[in-house]
């Protein structure tokens, strides 16, 4: 194995071109008149639902209305834990999440240009959770929405936890005749609550 390593690296050293510098300029500003408005528009365009709410109790109330009588609900926001009937503390094997219907998770940052929300292992507790759940609710604060991906990466430390992901809308596919179908393998729907 180490012999291949050496042979690959020495072939690369022999064949690579002379060193070229990295560009100085590779980040750009996006000047949206209203970042919150832009975020909402983009998320709706990619199949997500978005609501701006004043506080967590309103989030709780809206979840009750949008997902009435849902069973197999799990929550990783401490103040909303009472909405859950599945306690993640008791789950060690991610396969036990197979019947989860609704997961309610906080997001770190929202990105106005593409609707994505950065969520790390710390917020999701179980890496499989935002994917295996049938429906996903993400909750972010309005002031954490940045205009574009350059600014998102300025704020994020990608290796702070072992896993982090940008989630942009529900899971989708267009592999059958380019017809968009929402609900491929991951969550069938995404609702984002923005607390402002």
């Amino acid at each position: 194995m180490s012999t291949s390593r050496e042979s690959i690296l020495s072939a690369i050293r022999k064949n690579k071109p002379d060193l070229l510098p990295l560009p100085d300029k590779f980040t750009f500003e996006s000047n949206y008149p209203d970042v919150l408005e832009q975020y909402q528009q983009t998320l709706q365009m990619i199949g997500g639902t978005v609501e701006v709410v004043p506080d967590l109790p309103t989030v709780s109330q809206r979840i009750g209305e949008l997902f009435p009588n849902f069973k197999e609900v799990t929550v990783t926001i401490p103040d909303l834990r009472y909405l859950a009937d599945v306690d993640l503390e008791n789950i060690t094997d991610p396969h036990e999440l197979e019947d989860i219907n609704l997961a309610i998770i906080p997001g770190r940052y929202g990105v106005a240009e593409n609707g994505a929300i950065w969520v790390t292992e710390q917020e999701m507790k179980q890496r499989a959770l935002p994917f295996i759940t049938q429906h996903l609710v993400l909750v972010i604060r309005a002031e954490t929405i940045v205009p574009n991906m350059h600014e998102a990466y300025e704020r994020i430390q990608v290796d702070e936890t072992g896993f982090g992901t940008f989630i942009a809308g529900p899971s989708k596919t267009a592999d059958i005749e380019q017809s968009l179908v929402v609900g491929a393998h991951g969550a069938r729907s995404l609702v984002v609550f923005i607390i402002k």
């Binding site: 194995m1 291949s4 042979s7 690959i8 690296l9 690369i12 064949n15 690579k16 071109p17 060193l19 070229l20 510098p21 990295l22 560009p23 300029k25 590779f26 980040t27 750009f28 983009t42 365009m45 990619i46 991610p94 197979e98 240009e113 593409n114 609707g115 179980q126 890496r127 499989a128 994917f131 295996i132 574009n148 991906m149 350059h150 990466y153 300025e154 990608v158 290796d159 072992g162 896993f163 992901t165 940008f166 989630i167 942009a168 809308g169 529900p170 899971s171 989708k172 596919t173 267009a174 592999d175 059958i176 005749e177 017809s179 179908v181 609900g183 491929a184 393998h185 991951g186 969550a187």
Partner: protein, 457 residues
């Protein structure tokens, strides 16, 4: 898979027998190309982003060994095992040994063009290991025992009725059902059971970050994540050119990738893997398989800048009208046609000719690869190395002689004109491939030279 024995021109002819279907294929891909245009025009700094991406990739090519060693060290510190594979065979053997060590005989896989390039599925099947592809398009073509025809849209050559027939046969959906929503739901149910029961997952790598030793996998379906997070062993296969220096460079590439590919602002999931979850094994296989050779070809090394968005395919007038399978290579279309001859010149000598050299591919490429220039240059290399077929070579050599001699030129054109006037069937016949889709014009009575000599006073 009979296409594999035909060259691009012959396979295209087969593809073109069903004209309405070709029209549909052509229009569908052009529609994707138009979505890409709309998405790129929403970003005022689009051209600057392309330039930045191109320059980052040029740096990567010139600093490849250092970046890979940095990546390896950081990944190891993260608790990830790093393997190096000089070629496809070694890549496949590494994966087999990792599975064998754990006594695993069933694996799931999300999209990885590298594993197509290495023919991993066939290899593992020969060792008694079942592989199930989980990307919907890839699962469809896998059930049909076909290769993907497009790197981003693997089943773009199929109609929903084809998918309906395939799912009826393999997944027990209703006969004649063609509703994409219904068919996708059937695949979701079928694959969900698979995700929950497989212990090993293989994913591709979109970007590997030298600075942090992590890697990013982008999907719309969530299949890479479903597989990886439920598995006890996650193996990620990457061609070594997937490395980028720093996490902050991801901003450039993630802004370009999906907009170029499908016109979406970003994929539904852009997942950043750095450490295995507790109790899980995580492995990365870094693959060469001809890439270091390509790095040494000055005219062609820029093909290694590719981020596999597929924009060059969607825009290509030849790809749209000949279909991905005509290219008999894991990566089809313009980019595939400059990568493939590096892997095997004899087998892929036809591919650089599968182009009109219109340059549309280079214009849409998010990392500014000079694709059409490279197609042109490959033709010359292939001719010099003796891989260009007899007819093309003989006729071009003859043309070179005729064009170099004024006497021969005059004689041959006078003859040609006479023949065309008196016996047009001699040129417009099925033996002349050029005339299959074209008609020669009526020949004038005299040439310009003859007219000029008569009228020069």
């Amino acid at each position: 898979m009979s296409q594999h024995t035909l060259d691009h021109a012959a396979a295209s002819e087969v593809f073109n027998r069903d004209e309405p279907r070709v029209d549909w294929h052509d229009e569908t891909l052009w529609w994707v190309r138009q979505k890409r245009d709309r998405a790129s025009k929403g970003i005022p700094e689009w051209e600057d982003l392309r330039e930045a991406a191109s320059r980052i990739k040029h740096h990567v090519l010139s600093n490849m060994d250092v970046l890979l060693e940095t990546f390896e060290r950081n990944a190891q510190n993260n608790g990830v095992t790093v393997h190096w594979a000089a070629n496809a065979q070694e890549h496949n053997e590494i994966i087999h040994s990792l599975l064998a060590k754990k006594g695993i005989d069933r694996m799931i896989k999300s999209k990885s063009m590298l594993t197509e390039e290495c023919h991993l599925n066939d290899f593992l099947r020969s060792k008694g290991i079942e592989v199930i592809d989980t990307d919907l398009g890839e699962r469809i073509v896998q059930l049909r025992q076909e290769p993907p025809s497009h790197i981003v849209l693997p089943a773009i050559h199929l109609k929903k009725s084809d998918v309906g027939d395939t799912f009826h046969e393999h997944l027990g959906t209703e006969k004649g059902a063609t509703d994409p929503q219904y068919l996708t739901e059937a695949a979701r149910q079928h694959l969900r059971e698979t995700f929950l029961t497989r212990r090993a997952a293989l994913t591709g790598v979109n970007f590997a970050i030298a600075e942090t030793g992590g890697f990013v996998v982008c999907t719309n379906e969530g299949n890479a994540d479903m597989g990886a997070h439920l598995s006890e062993i996650h193996i990620a296969s990457m061609g070594f050119e997937k490395i980028i220096p720093k996490a902050e460079h991801l901003g450039v590439f993630l802004r370009l990738l999906t907009r170029s590919a499908t016109g979406q602002p970003v994929t539904a999931y852009s997942s950043h893997f750095h450490r295995p979850r507790p109790g899980q094994e995580m492995h990365i296989v870094i693959v060469d398989n001809g890439r270091s050779t390509q790095l040494g070809r000055e005219d062609f090394r820029n093909s290694l800048k590719c981020i596999r968005c597929g924009a060059c395919m969607n825009t290509c007038p030849v790809y749209r009208r000949s279909g991905g399978h005509s290219y008999h290579n894991a990566v089809a279309g313009p980019i595939g046609s400059i990568l493939a001859p590096n892997l095997d010149m004899r087998k892929n000598a036809d591919l650089p000719f599968a182009s009109t050299l219109c340059g549309s591919c280079s214009n849409v490429c998010p990392v500014k690869i000079d694709i059409h220039d490279q197609l042109y240059k490959w033709r010359q290399v292939l001719a010099k190395e003796g891989y260009v077929g007899g007819m093309k070579k003989t006729s071009l050599q003859l043309a070179a002689k005729v064009l170099a001699s004024p006497t021969l030129f005059k004689l041959s054109f006078n003859t040609a004109r006479a023949v065309l006037r008196m016996a047009p069937w001699a040129a417009n016949n099925p033996l002349n491939a050029w005339s299959i889709h074209r008609e020669l014009p009526d020949a004038p009575k005299e040439s310009f030279r003859q007219w000029y000599e008569k009228n020069r006073k």
